[in-house]
């Protein structure tokens, strides 16, 4: 099942500011919840870094901590000047990485 979804406009004019929306399915276990049966804390398991690249160059990144809710939604803007590829990377504390890509045509 697709873990992440991204919404990027397909086309834009050079110099436009566009809004990018991202959502990833992830429990974002804070490490403070307790298992109802054993009474022990459920270990922390969160995404700690989200990075967005435009034609290979990082233009936005965000460090997340335990307070971020499950299935984090992150929206941000950027200015586009040429057609290209976006790459979005979510880095999980346990070392896993989830990726999504999108293309934009700039006229």
């Amino acid at each position: 099942m697709a873990k992440a979804r991204v919404k990027v406009p397909k086309t834009a004019k050079a110099g436009d500011v566009i809004t990018i929306k991202t959502l990833i399915k992830h429990k974002m276990e804070s490490g403070n919840r307790k298992d109802k049966k054993t009474g022990k804390k459920i270990p922390r398991h969160i995404i700690d870094k989200f990075t967005a690249k435009y034609n290979g160059e990082v233009f936005f990144s965000s460090d997340w901590e335990g307070g971020v809710s499950a299935n984090p939604y992150c929206a941000f803007t950027c200015k586009v000047d040429k057609s290209g590829d976006f790459e979005f990377v979510w880095h999980d504390e346990k070392g896993e990485e989830y990726k999504a890509t999108a293309k934009i045509t700039v006229g």
Binding site: M1, K25, A70
Partner: protein
């Protein structure tokens, strides 16, 4: 007794003295109600014949999430449901699509009529039970567990395919005695706080219980809903259990006759309201 006016504790209200005493001790107060919705355009859609959807009792930020299919976490389960629809499962080597074809056509309106009376079972069957019965009988597949990701995904997907259509359950004919049982459950006092569903949702809808705004509890067209408290999608029976626990009553099991009968009553209470699956609630 008018709801407008001074702040009043539940002790002075409609509840029996014993319950009131307990509530006073628990520090509960029911105050003057805030307007249920500041959204005039929503009313036409989410209010039918005076019956209001829980949408109108959610705050604007929550409504904004529901209105945005991208940000609505429940849509993740809709996507999963769509995948499962086409997935072959079970000894018969079939997928849902093998018999039902394109879900967008075959499942349109299905959500609005469940729970239904089923002759072979001699009682009501809700959507989750229907899905599992189909899996076992027609696909030779294992029933999905209640509240499992798979069952939630399929129910959410089927609900989503009726989105916008009015709830329309049948309460006459063979369904009538079960409807009456469901109604009984709704009005029956239970738990340590000795309250019935009606005490919040009939008597005090639009008022606050501690910091929560009480809705009319018509949830029929909204579940499975993405509840921010659960941080995921959840079924109506899960909500029933939560409600029961909150008044310190022993909940019934998900899929129990009591809850399925109650579900018919609740969905009748939401007749005419649009299906919102996947709704977003607190």
């Amino acid at each position: 007794m008018s709801r407008k006016g001074k702040k009043t504790t539940m002790g002075g209200g409609k509840l029996a003295a014993a319950a009131a005493g307990f509530l006073l001790a628990a520090g509960l107060a029911v105050g003057f109600s805030a307007p249920a919705s500041a959204c005039e355009e929503c009313k036409g859609k989410y209010e039918v014949e005076g019956r209001k959807s829980g949408y109108l009792f959610s705050n604007p930020e929550t409504r904004a999430i529901q209105d945005d299919d991208f940000a609505n976490g429940g849509m993740l389960w809709v996507e999963k449901g769509a995948e499962l629809w086409n997935k072959v499962d079970g000894k018969a080597g079939k997928s849902c699509a093998s018999c039902h074809g394109d879900a967008e056509e075959s499942m349109k309106g299905v959500y609005t009529v469940y729970p239904k009376y089923v002759q072979e079972l001699g009682k009501l069957e809700n959507l989750e039970q229907r899905i599992n019965r189909c899996r076992e009988a027609n696909m030779g597949a294992k029933a999905w567990k209640w509240e499992s990701d798979d069952l939630l995904a399929m129910t959410t997907y089927i609900g989503y395919l009726s989105r916008g259509m009015p709830m329309n359950v049948k309460i006459d004919g063979p369904a009538a005695p079960f409807f009456e049982k469901g109604k009984e459950e709704y009005f029956k006092r239970r738990g340590q706080l000795d309250m019935a569903c009606k005490h919040c949702h009939y008597d005090h809808a639009g008022q606050y219980i501690r910091a929560d705004l009480i809705s009319e509890g018509r949830g029929g067209g909204a579940f499975p809903a993405y509840r921010l408290k659960w941080q995921k999608i959840g079924s109506l029976h899960r909500r029933f259990k939560g409600c029961n626990k909150q008044i310190r009553a022993q909940p019934y099991k998900a899929g129990s006759d009591e809850y399925v009968n109650l579900e018919l009553f609740v969905k009748w209470r939401s007749r005419g309201l649009p299906v919102e699956v996947p709704a977003v609630r607190r």
